[in-house]
């Protein structure tokens, strides 16, 4: 009898644990950067992550679609904090429209000949290039010992990827940069005078290069630099006569002749 009572006691202790067994939710789709906090851990939720407990907070444009072990779908759309234990409340509305009403709505559309017309356009689309590059401007020639690359930061990008292509060999160097500028110095394997480079910035590690604006950089060697400088000498003298300062002259040369010292 005592044995039976002890077993019953054991089952009574286990019962609430069984009832409160945690549900597991896999992140199916994510928009923005929802934050998941569990105990002292905090992190951004990404596709494929699994949440079991804690809290999820959504900012303005964040959205989260989750899937549980039964294949049920839950959707969090509004900004706010959501306890994982309350996710059941956000179960996506099952298709309330019944099969028959969907079918007869289809028949009605067919009878009315709705959706039967089409507008065909015989063209293709080429999306605009992602152009965030600021300086050096496209196709400039320079002889400086350091080149400062700057760009407008991409919104919500945690990091930027800087790509430098040597045009002659087609070799590409990739660098992860946490900011909106990068300075490279002459020498080493990266920048060599006398080479022509293309550079671009993306927020993706493996971007579609057909959609990224790449600026050309002509990195002049001493001879080419001297020749080019000599070509522009008379123009520079004229500008001096007009009373322009050395800084203004340098700017004019860079803007109009793509020759930046």
């Amino acid at each position: 009898m005592e044995k039976l009572l002890s077993r019953l006691r054991f089952l009574l202790i286990l019962f609430p644990l069984i009832c409160n067994a945690q549900s597991k939710y896999a992140v199916f789709e994510v928009k923005g950067s929802p934050i998941h906090t569990e105990a002292s851990k905090k992190g951004t939720l990404t596709k494929g992550a699994v949440v079991r407990a804690g809290e999820v907070s959504l900012k303005n444009e964040d959205q989260l679609t989750l899937l549980n072990n039964k294949g049920e779908v839950f959707q969090l759309k509004s900004p706010g904090k959501y306890a994982v234990s309350n996710f059941e409340k956000y179960k996506m509305n099952e298709d309330k429209e019944g099969f028959s009403s969907k079918y007869f709505a289809y028949v009605w559309r067919e009878i009315n000949s709705e959706e039967n017309t089409k507008t065909n356009t015989g063209n293709i689309y080429r999306d605009g290039l992602i152009d965030i590059l600021i300086s050096p401007a496209d196709s400039i020639s320079t002889y400086m010992n350091k080149v400062v690359f700057t760009w407008a930061p991409i919104e919500k990008a945690s990091a930027h990827y800087f790509f430098l292509k040597e045009n002659a060999t087609n070799s590409i160097t990739k660098m992860k940069v946490e900011g909106d500028s990068l300075t490279l110095f002459v020498g080493g394997n990266l920048l060599k005078k006398g080479n022509v480079y293309s550079w671009g910035v993306s927020n993706e590690e493996y971007p579609d290069f057909t959609r990224i604006k790449m600026n050309q950089l002509n990195y002049l060697d001493k001879n080419t630099y001297d020749t080019k400088k000599a070509e522009l000498d008379s123009f520079v003298k004229n500008l001096r006569k007009l009373g322009l300062s050395e800084k203004e002259i340098t700017e004019k040369l860079c803007t109009y002749f793509k020759f930046c010292e």
Binding site: A26, V27, F28, T46, K47, G48, A49, V50, L67, N68, N69, K70, G71, V73, E94, D95, F99, S100, K102, Y103, F104, Y106, V107, E204, E205, Y206, D208
Partner: protein
């Protein structure tokens, strides 16, 4: 039974015989005369069940067991890195919808081979023009870890509506990629003999959905995530889902399915091969099989419905002649709409009933009533032949 009713029932039967002879004759001509080829071909790829999916009459669900990863244009080195990364997430089974035909770079191939030979990896093979295509290193050609990617064998249809999970060639019974993946996932407790016998015949695919019904990753997405806990203990299929990921205009390894929004006429393929395999896996795991109503039931339904329809409208033509033409047209439309509703309602319950015969027999049968009346009048005039119209 009065003589009048006897005549009515007999006339109904004779009219049905006339209509049936016409339908059989036209079907024979359409099937056999090459001049009708475009006509035949246009209808060959049409099924009323396509409307069921394209109009989303089914309940939409998401898969909780199968995850898809796109290899895009990755080379063998990148694919082996991807497989290694996926293995780190502890999936139960990895199914490969790629055949690495022939050797390339010895170093890279050996790295790839290490990944392909893992216990939980199911490799692909394909039966093309009477021979099997295997991976370069699949020398053992084991049946339990290699599945065929053929969705069906010898099908004349362009739209993928059916699959065959097991196929016998010579003395060997081969399993499809989907069946092999499920077998590994259920740890060889599958299939039972009865299921294997059933799936050795073509089975209708119960589609869960297109790419949006499965958790899917592009190559970059997958590689950039250090950990993907959702993959743990799940089936991960690795194959091609377009380049760039999910590209709607990329048609490599893409097929027409009933989910295509254009259910009749010309459209573009709508589903990648790997998504079809994922749908089949989901269907097998959920044991969501269809039961097909035997063909004799289809024909019996068609003939009895048409017979009673003809009898009723012969009676209408004599007793309510003013409204006859209108009632016939309404009944033709009504029966078509209601039969399709019944068909889809049964499909919803996993019962396949082909409505084409019933609809065709009824619509054409009704059109024969007037012709029958003309013939009956002529016979009556010439031979004093008695019918419901003259008694």
């Amino acid at each position: 039974m009065s003589t009048k009713i006897k005549y009515l029932l007999r006339d109904g039967f004779l009219c049905l015989v006339m209509a049936s002879a016409f339908i059989i004759g036209v079907s024979f001509l359409v099937v056999n005369l090459s001049i009708f080829d475009p006509f035949t071909k246009a209808f060959k790829d049409f099924s009323f069940f396509d409307i069921y999916y394209s109009e989303k009459l089914n309940e939409t669900t998401l898969s909780d067991k199968v995850i898809l990863v796109n290899v895009e244009q990755g080379d063998r080195f990148q694919i082996q890195e991807l497989l290694r990364h996926i293995q780190d997430q502890n999936p139960k089974v990895i199914g490969l919808d790629i055949i690495f035909k022939g050797e390339k770079d010895p170093f890279v191939d050996s790295l790839l081979q290490i990944q392909l030979e893992k216990d939980n990896v199911v490799r692909a093979k394909a039966y093309v023009e009477g021979k099997w295509n295997y991976d370069f290193g699949n020398t053992q050609k084991k049946l339990d870890n290699t599945g065929y990617t053929n969705i069906n064998f010898g099908s004349e249809e362009t739209v993928i509506r059916e699959f065959q999970a097991f196929h016998r060639i010579g003395d060997s019974l081969h399993a499809s990629l989907a069946a092999t993946v499920v077998s590994k996932y259920l740890e060889n407790n599958w299939p039972e003999e009865e299921i294997q016998k059933k799936l050795s015949r073509q089975q209708p695919i119960n589609y869960t959905g297109n790419l949006d019904a499965f958790l899917n990753f592009s190559y970059d997405e997958c590689m950039s995530l250090e950990s993907i806990p959702a993959m743990e203990g799940k089936i991960v299929l690795v194959g091609y889902l377009g380049y760039p990921h999910q590209s709607p205009t990329d048609i490599e390894d893409k097929f027409f399915t009933p989910l295509n929004p254009v259910s009749a006429g010309k459209g573009i393929p709508d589903m990648f091969g790997m998504v079809i395999h994922a749908n089949i896996i989901q269907q097998i795991l959920d044991e969501n099989y269809f039961w097909e109503v035997p063909a004799w039931v289809d024909y019996l339904t068609a003939l009895s419905l048409t017979y009673f329809g003809i009898v009723f409208f012969i009676w209408i033509s004599v007793n309510v002649p003013a409204g006859y033409a209108l009632y016939v047209k309404i009944s033709q439309l009504g029966v078509t709409v209601l039969f399709l509703w019944l068909t889809f309602a049964l499909y919803n319950k996993k019962i396949i009933f082909e409505p084409e015969h019933s609809i065709a027999f009824f619509v054409i049968g009704m059109e024969f009533i007037e012709l029958y009346e003309v013939i009956a009048h002529k016979l009556n005039k010439k031979y004093q032949w008695k019918s419901y119209y003259h008694d």
